[in-house]
């Protein structure tokens, strides 16, 4: 049997010293100083768990970088120039379904295409050709129409750009380039 600790302020109902009490009672003490101590100790345990969760998150990103990387985009027809007037836009899915992109015709032989999802929180962006920008209505984000770079609002990364190829009247998509700047 343990000797009673002089710092114990409360006697447990069974009269035994604190060290001999079951764990659940030691984890939920009545004494305020002991409760403060246990609260800090448990907070450190919680932070250690959070720290591990961050490591797991980093490992997940690394796994996605190594195994989820898309290599080799297919060349796919997107539209015909004759069907798309200057200043008009067209939404299409590339490289697969559920990956919306926006094609905008800027001039007679000048077309650009970007991801149709805002790089902030993936809201759909809308072309405002007259203002020369893409607009995200969710949080008032703006991107440059020709480069896809962020102009204003919360987005910091540019819109992923679709590499295009003009073959006569036909517009082809050849790949998607994700960028930091």
């Amino acid at each position: 049997m343990s000797r009673r600790d002089p710092e114990e302020l409360t006697i447990a109902p069974d009269g035994r010293p604190w060290a001999d009490q079951p764990k659940w009672r030691r984890d939920f003490p009545i004494d305020v100083p002991e409760d403060d101590y246990v609260a800090r100790r448990e907070f450190i345990k919680f932070l250690a768990l959070t720290s591990f969760a961050f490591v797991a998150g980093q490992a997940w990103i690394l796994a996605k970088s190594l195994f989820g990387r898309r290599t080799g985009f297919r060349r796919a027809p997107v539209a015909r120039l004759s069907e798309l007037p200057v200043g008009a836009s067209l939404q299409f899915d590339y490289p697969g379904a559920g990956e919306p992109k926006l094609l905008v015709r800027l001039g007679p032989r000048e077309v650009v295409a970007f991801d149709a999802r805002c790089t902030h929180l993936s809201c759909p962006v809308f072309p405002q050709v007259d203002e020369g920008r893409f607009y995200c209505p969710c949080h008032q984000g703006f991107f440059d129409l020709t480069s896809g770079r962020p102009l204003a609002g919360p987005p910091t990364r540019p819109l992923p750009r679709v590499e295009l190829e003009l073959d006569g009247d036909e517009i082809f998509a050849r790949g998607v380039e994700r960028r930091m700047t």
Binding site: D36, R40, F52, V55, Q58, L62
Partner: protein
């Protein structure tokens, strides 16, 4: 630095002393975890921007941070037994 040894072994720390040590450890651990949070958001931002080379060193750095936290937690358990 360990407590001065007596004939009965290391001097037992009072609860107030242990609580002060815990406060210091909490401060250090909070700093480390905030650093890890920043690291995670920066890595995610780089990944979404197509920068794939950042993930491996960031994982290493985060792992080092976790090992530091785990070491401090181990010290807390040892402190409990004193």
């Amino acid at each position: 630095m360990s407590a001065p040894a007596t004939e009965r072994g290391p001097r037992r720390l009072s609860r107030a002393q242990r609580a002060t040590i815990l406060t210091g450890i909490v401060s250090i651990v909070v700093l480390i975890v905030v650093l890890q949070l920043w690291l995670l958001t920066a890595t995610m931002d780089a990944y979404l921007g197509g920068e794939l080379g950042v993930a491996a060193p960031a994982l290493g750095a985060s792992l080092v941070c976790f090992l530091l936290v785990a070491g401090l937690l181990r010290y807390v358990y040892r402190l409990d037994r004193r």
